[in-house]
Subunit: 250 residues, 2 copies
Amino acid sequence: MRNLKLILAYDGADFSGWQVQPDTNTVQGTLASAIGRITGEKVLPQGSGRTDAGVHALAQVMTFVTESSVPTQNFVKALNDVLPPSIRVLGVSEMPAEFHARHSARAKTYRYRIYRESICPPFLARYVWHYPYRLDEAAMARGAGLVVGENDFTSFAAVDPERGREGDPISNVRTIFSSKWERVDDELVYTVRGSGFLHHMVRNLVGTFILVGRSTLQVGDVTTILAARDRSAAGATVPASGLYLVGVEY
Amino acid sequence: MRNLKLILAYDGADFSGWQVQPDTNTVQGTLASAIGRITGEKVLPQGSGRTDAGVHALAQVMTFVTESSVPTQNFVKALNDVLPPSIRVLGVSEMPAEFHARHSARAKTYRYRIYRESICPPFLARYVWHYPYRLDEAAMARGAGLVVGENDFTSFAAVDPERGREGDPISNVRTIFSSKWERVDDELVYTVRGSGFLHHMVRNLVGTFILVGRSTLQVGDVTTILAARDRSAAGATVPASGLYLVGVEY
């Protein structure tokens, strides 16, 4: 019996999110049936976390346990041959039995891409949020720095009906190691690395920084909103299309 | 009455090609209804040429005649507001009545992108052809040069049921001004500029150069195939996903 860890990239636009659901195209469900075709086993692969509908992954991590005789390294090509092109297995490795994609994770990095020019190329529309309006990008950069550290992120957390069921800690305290905006050609890109993220947390942070960029909020209001521990104090959830799970550290 | 010329980009993966068809999502049909919403007029915009299902455009040109009072420059934003994100209007200009997107065209440029690494990123799958197998890229480059000039391209032309109906010249003679392969990071990219192109001509040229790259054909066989004026002499049609109409010159 082997505990296999896969590194995955996927185009979230083609899926109703990570988590398996009946009669819906999900990343987890698509991977479960691809593994079933190769091993003949019925497995439910465990991801490092769920991604919502439309959210992309550059290096999602998942594990599954198999008793099949397929050599570990062969899973990359075998799975890529049966998966749709919108999901790619980038690597595979055998892990100790106690390794768990979700519980063993120590840090995750997310990125959010905003396309700033007036006309968004059709080839980018699925992969960015198009926001061509005036933004004070310097103020947004200062605001981003204010969420670094250990904080209670209740103001930025959507109510998650799945919480608890999967044994999450009840606390909304998370540690953000880095949080920054940078200009990359025609895009404004937010990159955040933290110990963990609550439901919609990155998209709610971005929605709040947007209010700072529009001068609806002052930079220092980010600290006030964080302290309020009240979802209604923060900005709206920005669209899923711009969000990427960049990587998971163990 | 104004004859308006639009420059368009579109993601062909979302459409059953350019040409309007009943109960099918086409670029021409989508543009016709978007114009209808803005002007109240029923028009059939004329493209510089049809693109097949899955073929992309960086700068397709189309014209339509309008009697509406909408100022010319307003059409860019007005159309982009009602079009899906997979079609963007990049520019608009008023042209003399005799200008016709198709008949006035003097040259077109197409590009074909082949992704060469073993795993194709999911974000590129709609926009390239994934061909990770061995290719003699230098031989392909030499083969590409052999189609430059005025030639009868019957060997590279699909039978086109629409020919004649739209008043095309019956001749399969076209002039290729330049034809070359180049390496762009992980991609092998073919760019061809010519007076005009027959149905499937670029994809059939690429399919033939692939046979040269695989050493199934020798470089000089390209000249023999061209002289044969026989479709069965050339290579297969490669997938639409890698093909782009780059621009049209007048």
